[in-house]
Symmetry: none
Subunit: 205 residues, 4 copies
């Protein structure tokens, strides 16, 4: 029932007398551990050790473990993809972003599949919900015509979340093994009925 210990996260060298750097080191250690073991499995001790810092500094800089995690789960830079990508390109663009295995730890730590995997606590659920609401329920839905725009937007999120969970967390054979282009092709087809102008077909079942 313990998380994987492969892919060890080496303790960073001591980063003496530099508050900003220490804070960042803690955050970044937290993200690495979250990405590797899941939100539910990070302890302040491990974070401090991985950051090469004293455990008490977590409280100096963040006030509580929870506050540290909340900050670690926030994406480091705002994502304009949903706002700016042409609708037709959106599905596979988002997919590639979500599945990029070379993404830095902070991106992986704040990915949807990481969040869903840590959905055992209200904290994480809230963060995940807010992120979907902002990106999909609000932003993407605003770009969709026709009925049920919010629902259709969230279904895009659901598909992407499901895929990244199966590929990144669970590791099912076909999805984990597929190449991105093949996946992108199918995702585009599945999403097409949601984003193409609904027109008269909304009523059809």
């Amino acid at each position: 029932m313990r998380p994987v210990d492969d892919e060890a996260i080496p303790p960073a060298g001591p980063r003496r007398r530099d508050a900003a750097a220490t804070r960042e080191a803690l955050l970044s250690a937290a993200r690495a551990l979250i990405a590797r073991d899941g939100v539910g499995h990070v302890s302040t001790r491990d974070v401090a050790a991985a950051a090469g810092a004293n455990q008490a500094l977590v409280y100096r800089y963040f006030g509580s473990k929870e506050a540290l995690l909340v900050e670690a789960l926030q994406p480091t830079e705002p994502d304009r993809t949903i706002a700016e990508t042409p609708l037709a390109d959106l599905p596979h663009t988002l997919l590639r972003r979500a599945l990029d295995p070379d993404a830095p730890a902070d991106v992986r730590a704040s990915s949807m599949s990481t969040l869903v995997a840590g959905a055992g606590t209200e904290l994480v659920r809230t963060i995940a919900r807010d992120r979907i609401h902002a990106g999909f329920t609000t932003q993407l839905a605003g770009r969709l015509d026709g009925d049920d725009a919010e629902l259709r937007a969230e279904l895009v999120a659901a598909l992407l979340t499901g895929i990244s969970s199966l590929r990144g967390q669970i590791g099912t054979r076909a999805i984990a093994g597929a190449d991105l282009d093949a996946l992108a092709t199918y995702v585009d087809r599945m999403v097409a009925p949601l984003i193409t102008p609904a027109g008269s077909d909304t009523a059809a079942s």
Copy 2:
């Protein structure tokens, strides 16, 4: 699955001197707790209490907490839905099964979204993977014609997993609020490109 205390799980009466029954009581208590609080939140003490049994019996009968959970996460009866439902009806049928909030605890405990939410541990990941392999990668893929059958089958699983996560765990506004019929309609449309005889259109993008 959110840790709520509303829906209390009453301690079962003492089940003295009946090994099989005690074992079963532990399993069933574990399932109820998993369904209510998530895999990551069950303690052997709570399970024992809910089963009206002694905590040490977990070890007598299962050897470890982990082993108990593994068994509790297995579905109690084989599901013939994937094998027997006409392909065209399969998506919404599976969706209704996955989202039924009145399903018995053992079904909810072993649901995909419960598993994904507990994906912080290798144990749970393995169980989830095996279940998708059996139901989708193997069984459903076997019923699909054309290229990439396994991948297309797993994409159905991904969509359903994503939807039930967002509805049952995260609680996003539109998906959590939608009525099942509306959801089913859209799911059918999304899945259609995957299960309709692919014919010549597999190559088209």
Copy 3:
């Protein structure tokens, strides 16, 4: 700022597999430590160590450190002194009880001066208040005639509390060095105006 380490409390030998005895050992260790170091300075670890028991047993048997302390601060047997001693003998009788240096740890742990010395926490304040209310404000006052019975009764408590604080905690030269008989003589004289039938003298100042 650390309490005295003289008069070491030896760790009791392991008291295996006897719940009642272990519970009692914890209580009694707690009382010894309270009597020596004050309520504010007992840690669950020290109590467990002094009791020769595991720290977790504090929680098994008492639920929390606070609950253990509350129980440890309770007198072990009800005191009928105030109810049954003739009024004229009461002051020196109570004094002797309060100052007996050979009293067992449980009596010393629950003494007024110990409580007052730990008055930094609401918990201890409440216990002290309740004890004085029961013994003096209610019981003794009920036996007093004339005006201000409650106040006069509490003044008896105040004097006794003050004396035992100065003798037992602070250790002032004269009070700590005095023999009990001399002390008793003066206490009787001080208390006399409070317990003698007030008659017409209440008005006099």
Copy 4:
């Protein structure tokens, strides 16, 4: 003295580059906190914050938390009451001084009941003892005729200490609720046998 948050202690503005003033600010903050929360509840961090100073300055100026507290617990100005008040007026005069809730923080911080309530540590015990020795065992006793002068003087201290503990710390019903005049009347009567020229009656019991 009960840890209340009502009566908040505002952080003083920055007191830059004035060693003496900073030292004084720390002392005075310490006194305010002691008076409000009790000796056992002051942390160097809180003191520093309340003084608007850096926590490390506690060590620069005092060497240790303990040394700061020792100094904070000393009365700021010598009290001539015991030396100069006519014996007959002394009891109620001292009582009013001890119970004045509007006394400045430094007086309240160094009051006997505050000291007794912090008697869990040797440090505080020593301070309390020294203060009683100076004021009562030596000074007051010097003004008393007859036998056992030191003991009788300390008994006055004991009574006053007891009363202020029950009124200010424990809060027993009658003593905490009594008005000062009533209290003073009874205190005078109790103390009378101690300070009136004892003459031949010392032997009588």
